[in-house]
Amino acid sequence: MKRRFLKFISFMVMTGIIFYHVSCVLGYYDNIHSAAVFSQFYDMPSKTVDAVWIGASSVQEFIIPSVMFEETGITLYSLAVGNEPFMASEFLIRECEREQNPSVYLVDIRQLAYTTQDDTYVRRITDNSKWTVNRMKAIRYMLDNLKFYHPREYDAEIDYIFPFTKYHTRWGDLKPEDFGKDDNCFFGYFIKLNRQSFNETEVRSRFDAIPQEPSEENLKYLNDFLDFCDTLDKKVIFTRTPNCLDEDMFAQYNYMQELIEERGYEVWDLNRDTGEMGLDYTEDFADPMHTNVYGAQKVSKYAAVRLSKELGLPDHRNDSRYACYGTMQAKFLERLGEMESASTQEAGN
């Protein structure tokens, strides 16, 4: 009887281990490296990250943590993926509190002028996060919001809790990234080389757009989050990364900035600091919403200096415990070099 029990337990354990590894491989995949953003975050040595920047592609394609480290030695992580719903911010902060305990959170408000209609954006976060009670609560919270504001057929909740049910069909088209080999994600950032030119004066003229109230849904998310920040014993700074969007977008962000400042929180409108950054509107943008790698490096360096000066974040450049940042920077520069030479070759052909 005991022997059978032992056999049963060992079989279950063996199957469990295999299943764990299989479900790590057969997971979420997209072309903006969302899986790597989270896996690299969870792989960071404990309590090494001093600041976390949360947001959508407005952070992911602007902030290069290894460049910031090289500049002022601060250890920041860019926990941001494209179309990251703002309603996920609380969940992400809780994850950081458990994993890293940083002293500063930066939260970008770009996504608050858009609506999260697609549950893929929710899955980008929940499918890649660790299995915790926090995650279950986040799934419930975000699904409830989606169902309320955008009534539609969504997958059953169990399919969010066990993403394997959705991704097991990917066995036919696995990629190296599924096996943990993502060489194009640098602590959240991935390199973009394209350029689109904008008229700086024209863009600047939109900066003082008359404040306009955003949608009811987004206001709810903002207010819910501000209530959460009130309970948080950490510094929270809201940010607006540089962009060349339309005037009505600037209007909404201006409204939100006023609201946030009224609640007693700082807002860094980096649009107004592009001069100081040295950001070139004709060379450094990839599209109206995102900078390319050149613009991102400038934004990152500026932010690094500002964080170091104003918040006194420590300089870890000589500490061997933070060597991973140095390694990542080397990888980033190498990859950048490869991509640049590949693109000049292509341009030559």
């Binding site: 079989f11 063996m14 199957t15 299943f19 299989v22 997958d155 394997f164 097991h168 066995w171």
Partner: protein
Amino acid sequence: MTVTSYRFLLFLLIGAAVYYAAPKRIQWVILLCLSVVYYFLAATPYTILFLILSTVSAYAAGMLMECRYFRGNKTAARWITCITAAAVLINIFVWFLLKGNSFWVRGSSLLHRLFPAFPQLEPLKIVPALGMGYYTAQVIGYILDCYWEICTPQRNILKLFLFVGFFPQLTVGPISKYSELECLYQGHSFDYINITHGSQRILWGLFKKLVISDRLAVIVNGIWADTAFYSGFWPWIAVFVYPLEIYTDFSGCMDIILGGAELFDIRLPENFRNPFFSRTCQEFWQRWHITLGKWARDYVYYPVLKSSLIIRLGKWSKRHFSKRIAKLIPWAAGMWILWFVMGFWHGSSRHIIGVSAYFWTILVLSEICSPGLKKIVGLLKVDTESFSWHFFQSIRTYIIYSFGVVFFTRERLLVALEHVKVLIRTFSCPAWNPWIFFDGSIQSLGVSYGDLNVILLSLVALLVVDVLREKYGYARIWIDRQILPFRWMLYTALLFAVLILGMYGPGFNASEFIYGQF
């Protein structure tokens, strides 16, 4: 809650835990409660009244038969016959009312056209009970078994209700005899073997259904959905793949159900015995949906052949025809009634009766031609025990079955006839397209090369397991003899084949079982 859902598997797990934790005396009560709970979760709750009605009719009939008042004299015998007939007819009537829609609706509209005064009936808007065809047949079997004194009537109405509504059988059978399910009322101890064997069987059933059947369904349904585009050889592919689809669907479901019952140490009767290994059509129907065949044989065919009408027919045939034909006529008549009833049980629409007629014709023809064929085989000096001859016979049986079953799940005979036209069109030149087998155009149906490889490998695995079943009764008898690492490798491979390759999860519709509609 289909049997391939997470909920059902969880239900089985929790049910088994409660079952073995309970004292042996009340384990049958636990099964009863589980069956009721299952019914409320899986079906429209108020329809349980139909099951209760069936149980009450069977219980009353059984008790009245037992009653001393009716024993021992000739009028009593007649009363018992009346009670039996009444109980059986009530069940048939209720089933016919809810499931025989197309028959009496069409019948009434026909009568209405002939006699405008006759009202034109609308189909009843009442949802039929879950598995109505299955449990009704089971109840009728019980009533007749009591009448023929094959078993003693059950004195406890709740125990009888358990027999009628035992939850694994509720969706697609098998149709059990009362004597086969005596074990429902006995106490069972926890045995590791039951749990492991039951779970393995469930896993195998899930493999057949989720990995093989649902993949084949994509091909078959895709082709039939657009026969204008998928013409030429395409419908032939659909015709010859469909029997495999139904087989893996139905037998996979059976494996889940029988495995589930085995968890509770209840042995339900087998419904399949490698039907595609059959040498003849007659043998095929003894290996396919075995419990329905046995039920029809015991409760329809036997009484019909013993009836005075058929006996008189037999005597008349003997006077007017040769010995062989004289034997064939009553047999064919009995078969016709058997097939009509079986067809009717599947559905009262004309096309399904057409399917019955087709199979009946094949059986009669094969019986008539059998001596002639035996002579030819003898002349050609064919070794009938050779593998190749058996293979040829199996293929022949498979092809005959494929044609018969093309019309099986198509709703209207017209659509079915359209399919025949499409098949015949293949022989005309413009539709000649044999390159479809080689140019990868099957991928347009939504089936990748990877999927095709999966289908191929799974069918090989299915063949191996079925050959082992043919040889040993159960494949696990052979598996149990192998060393532990090999066995564990097999189980793990099977488990992950289902988890990874199964067609489940968001993006797939909860696959309904083809046979769940009866």
